[in-house]
């Protein structure tokens, strides 16, 4: 029995799962959920799968995962024989967990501002934007230090699930009125992730244009979901 992803096309958190599945070339089945405008995630059928009513949900046999970081960790452990996406080494592993926790701050700030601007979600958008800029400054500072030692990604020697977890709501932030102009290291890192083989897009996140034709590994999200 294969993997099943409960998905919403505009969800940044669901995109984390889609992106990881694509990067690892893992086939899966999509169940689309009418998050907006239908609010299907608040209906009894969906709440049976996930009482918290959040997306995405990954189902593998009896296993039901409802947190995007847990989904990334599971996919890495289960489908990445190289072990590089979630390294075993104690310090590196702990740093990955730290950035996974940090990624939830991005969801709560940059992600919230996007929902406000895009579908008129009722919240304090100024506070959300301030929080996002604070988080972006921290991320940009860290990535600048990483660049000094010749590293392009958040942790260790290559891309990890920490990068995927943090990437989504950083890349989508212009949808919520948060631009990347003041964060040069962040921009370079976004491009580094977009350069990964088998990278996929979502509405609001474009592939690097030059790679579209040259990189046969880059596929569009609409095709990857089929």
């Amino acid at each position: 029995m294969g993997l099943r992803l409960y998905d919403y096309i505009l969800s940044g958190s669901a995109y984390k799962a889609r992106l990881m599945l694509a990067l690892l070339s893992v086939p899966y089945e999509t169940v689309t959920v009418d998050f907006y405008p239908g609010e299907e995630h608040r209906q009894p059928d969906f709440l049976d799968h996930n009482p918290a009513g959040t997306l995405p949900v990954l189902v593998d046999g009896d296993l039901v995962l409802t947190d995007s970081s847990a989904i990334l960790a599971y996919l890495a452990r289960r489908h990445d024989p190289s072990g590089t996406w979630l390294p075993d080494d104690a310090a590196t592993h702990a740093q990955v967990l730290q950035w996974l926790a940090f990624s939830h701050r991005l969801t709560a700030t940059a992600g919230a501002a996007r929902l406000h601007d895009m579908i008129n979600r009722d919240l304090d958008v100024d506070a959300a934007r301030r929080g996002a800029h604070q988080a972006f400054r921290e991320l940009d500072g860290h990535l600048t230090e990483r660049a000094f030692v010749g590293e392009r990604f958040l942790v260790g020697a290559g891309p990890t699930i920490a990068d995927i977890a943090c990437f989504a709501y950083v890349a989508l932030s212009p949808d919520g009125g948060i631009e990347h102009d003041d964060y040069p290291a962040l921009r370079t890192w976004v491009d580094a992730i977009k350069s990964l083989p088998r990278f996929i897009e979502m509405p609001g996140i474009h592939a690097l244009h030059g790679l579209r034709d040259d990189n046969p590994g880059t596929v569009k999200s609409s095709q990857a979901a089929q």
Binding site: Y8, I9, L10, T32, V33, D34, Y36, P37, G38, E40, D117, M118, I119, N120, P174, D175, G177, M202, P203, G204, R212, D213, K220, S221, S222, Q223
Partner: protein, 287 residues
């Protein structure tokens, strides 16, 4: 803007979609904004709807095409007709509003533009190198005073959710009201019929709008959720472009932008707006 100052703004006498009918159940209230004015939509216990302003006065209200419609003025015309609404076999899809920081008129104009497909909706509604817009026809229908673009043909890798593989899609565009655009497109599962995709634009301010896409499709095998996701994917690709257009207001002065042949519909739309004095969201003189 000058027209508003005099109180004769024809934009106030237009009908605007301000909510989805099905999501307003008895006892529900929705607060929103129309042309900078807060309004409240309420569905009473008997199912009837009212739209009121901050001062308590009522606005005209009607329900059609899945949406609630109202006006700040006195519309002297019925809401435009979309006969496909009642055609048997069509799935009617309410897609929900997407907020865009742009002029309501820019949202309509972008919807009418075919040339952007390969660049904005890459590998879905268009693809490189198939970027050429074939000659097409534009006219203003005299009787109904609507802008129509016909004989539009474009190569599309995945024109609709139900399309498998690339096809040359034929289109028509119809502008029945200043902030409504209807797209008719070849319907892969039903040759001879047209799928229709519509945007109803609710002007919140001159540079801010809620766009309500609505569809009436013949579709085999796709769930309504899949259809909504497809439409939202397309529309969110447009949103980033719309929010970065300059100037924010739609220029109606022909001196301001140089159109190409592919922009024929846009030129006709802008002239038509100008003739109707529809300047809310427009820039009428070169700054």
């Amino acid at each position: 803007m000058s027209a508003q100052a005099t109180g004769n703004d024809p934009a106030r006498d237009e009908w605007y979609a301000v909510g989805i009918s099905a999501y307003l159940r008895s006892g529900d209230t929705r607060e929103t904004v129309l042309m900078e004015e807060p309004i409240r939509i309420m569905r009473g216990a008997g199912g009837s709807l009212s739209v009121t302003r901050a001062d308590g006065t009522n606005c005209p209200v009607l329900e059609r095409y899945g949406h609630v419609w109202t006006s700040l003025g006195k519309p002297d015309h019925a809401l435009f007709d979309i006969p496909e609404d009642v055609q048997a076999g069509r799935t009617l899809v309410d897609c929900g509003a997407v907020r865009v920081r742009c002029s309501p008129l820019r949202a309509v104009e972008n919807f009418l533009d075919i040339a952007h497909f390969p660049y904005v909706h890459t590998d879905v509604l268009g693809s490189e190198p198939h970027t050429e817009v074939q000659p097409y026809k534009v006219h203003v229908e005299e009787k109904s005073d609507e802008v129509w673009a016909t004989n539009v043909r474009f190569y599309q890798p995945q024109a609709a959710k139900s399309a498998e593989g690339g096809i040359v899609t034929e289109y028509m565009y119809r502008v029945p009201a200043p902030t409504t655009a209807i797209l008719y497109k070849t319907c892969p599962p039903r040759p001879g019929e047209w799928d229709i995709i519509t945007i109803f634009v609710q002007p919140l301010a001159e540079d801010l709008c809620d766009v309500w896409p609505w569809m009436a499709l013949f579709d085999d095998g796709n769930s309504v959720t899949d259809l909504i996701h497809f439409q939202q994917m397309i529309f969110l690709q447009d949103r980033a472009i719309l929010e970065n257009q300059m100037p924010r207001l739609l220029p109606l002065d022909p001196k301001m932008e140089i159109p190409t042949r592919a922009d024929l519909t846009s030129v006709a739309y802008r002239r038509w707006l100008k003739r109707r004095g529809m300047t809310y969201g427009a820039q009428t003189e070169a700054a």
